[in-house]
Subunit: 178 residues, 4 copies
């Protein structure tokens, strides 16, 4: 998960964020961008390639913090634009209820979802995007894979922090778990 642009927005200094991260769960939104056909079936999943703090590269979904006084829908739109560009045309679901809630802990054994920096709780959504997507500066690449490809052993091995499981939960939500 990347906070680069959040910090640039200046609502919380780096020091304050580090302090909060040691004392409170931090609220995130996560979006799995998908292409759908005319009947709403998922035909492709958009996966980002990101450099991680330790120098390795991993697959990732769209993700970021919810800011103070920011609505969840606005946070989702902001992070989708940040990661996919301004003309991705995301289609947020009618209901704000996430399809799942992902709990990331500094200790990888608690939930299987792991974030060494913090306890983060992410509201997760599957979001169809209609427009052109261009990965932003914080991502190296964006690849569109079929649900079968995205849930293959080889691709799942390229995620970190347990997000391979998130991808499979998202495909199950869309009825596309092979």
């Amino acid at each position: 998960m990347s906070d680069t642009l959040d910090l640039a927005a200046g609502w919380l200094s780096t020091d304050d964020l580090l302090a909060a991260r040691g004392t409170l769960p931090i609220l995130y939104v996560e979006a799995i961008p998908v292409r759908v056909d005319a009947a709403g079936r998922i035909t492709a999943v958009g996966l980002l390639l990101r450099a991680r703090p330790d120098g390795t590269v991993s697959r990732a979904v769209v993700a970021g913090r919810v800011l103070y006084r920011e609505r969840i829908r606005d946070a989702l739109i902001r992070h989708l634009e940040k990661d996919l560009g301004a003309v991705a045309l995301p289609r947020l679901p009618v209901s704000i209820a996430p399809f799942t809630v992902v709990e990331y802990f500094p200790d990888p054994s608690v939930s299987g979802f792991h974030d060494p920096r913090q306890h983060a709780v992410a509201l997760a959504y599957v979001v169809p995007v209609d427009g052109d997507c261009v990965p932003s500066q914080s991502a190296i690449d964006l690849a569109w894979l079929t649900p079968q490809e995205a849930t293959s052993e080889a691709v799942l091995a390229e995620f970190s922090g347990g997000q391979d499981r998130l991808i499979r939960l998202a495909m199950a939500h869309g009825g596309q778990l092979p």
Copy 2:
């Protein structure tokens, strides 16, 4: 609920359908068409005005039978096109799980949802539509109301069969119950 076009499709004769209606629950899909803003919030609800068999007129949502060997998503698209025209551009949800299931009985006291002709079980969806909507021959009119208007006492009184409750459940699903 209207089956005019279903019958025209000829997959079941009128006699056979009448027989089945006395012995089995009949599977329907129902769609509440909505307009949404860029962040996915419902801004308007599309309500049809239909003539009923008894000569009265009532508000209604998009609805119809699922045919033999027809997929649910295809039934939804077919009925949306039948009631709203071919360029409504409906956006079916990623998940096939309906937001609620509506059980219509010949006896109005069983569930509060009433269909004098049959026991019908409807999978209900809230469906954003992007395109131009023109009510088909089976509908007298299509009106776009705000969630506040659609759930006002005056408008709710214009539904029949308990569908006023369906509208309120749909708005609750979208977080738009005033």
Copy 3:
């Protein structure tokens, strides 16, 4: 899916049911019985072992038709009692919306879910059961497996009609997809 007891109830003769099966989608409910811990996490999945019409044996979930004028909750309770006994103490969810809808077709290539006898549409629920479960006459055995065991390759291979996928969707719904 077994209709033995449904037919015994006599609401539809075998001939009429066979006729309806060739002309209409037939409405089913399916329940995946689970044991949960004090915090609601799935600890075990109850899988039936059933003899199939072709003489083979396969794993199965609780399933059966919704009868004419029967409510969905009542059909669920009836089939849970039929398959697990009268003291299983099932806990139906607060919302009647199923976690998924399973579409079985005579042609296995349509949806991946297959029923050679009919087009069946099943509303699927994950149902915690608290009491003692004894498999009924229509089942050979009932086994309680952990989510890991239930989604292992070996166990998934023992299902038929695509229900291995239903088990994985149910575990995903409960956040227990390994």
Copy 4:
């Protein structure tokens, strides 16, 4: 929403919590306790009566913060025990996905949900409870009302912060919106 016991737990000093409240959204869980019949239908809703900081009294649901390194299910159990006693026997849902997400803002005009102290984001669940419930020291009373009573104008007027709307959304989720 009450944090008395949270603070007693000492994971965050009052000063630190006040500081965090001015800079980050704070994660909460909320539970609407219900009694259900054997088929899972809501028969009664448990509403707390709480003294508010300004000296007035208002109806309330079970609510509280998620602590650092605490799982959501554990936070729900902790707050249900805190508000309803140790033998309430809550039955958390199989899926961790909340039925809705409630966004409380210091400014009441943003979402209609209002908390003068903070920006709080609450994951909301409807939770059947089987055991005896005794309101804790932080609540004045606990009353069990039918869904009809709980959604009557008179009772809804006794909530604050917009929680009357939460009650109606919860009843809609359970199909019990009159």
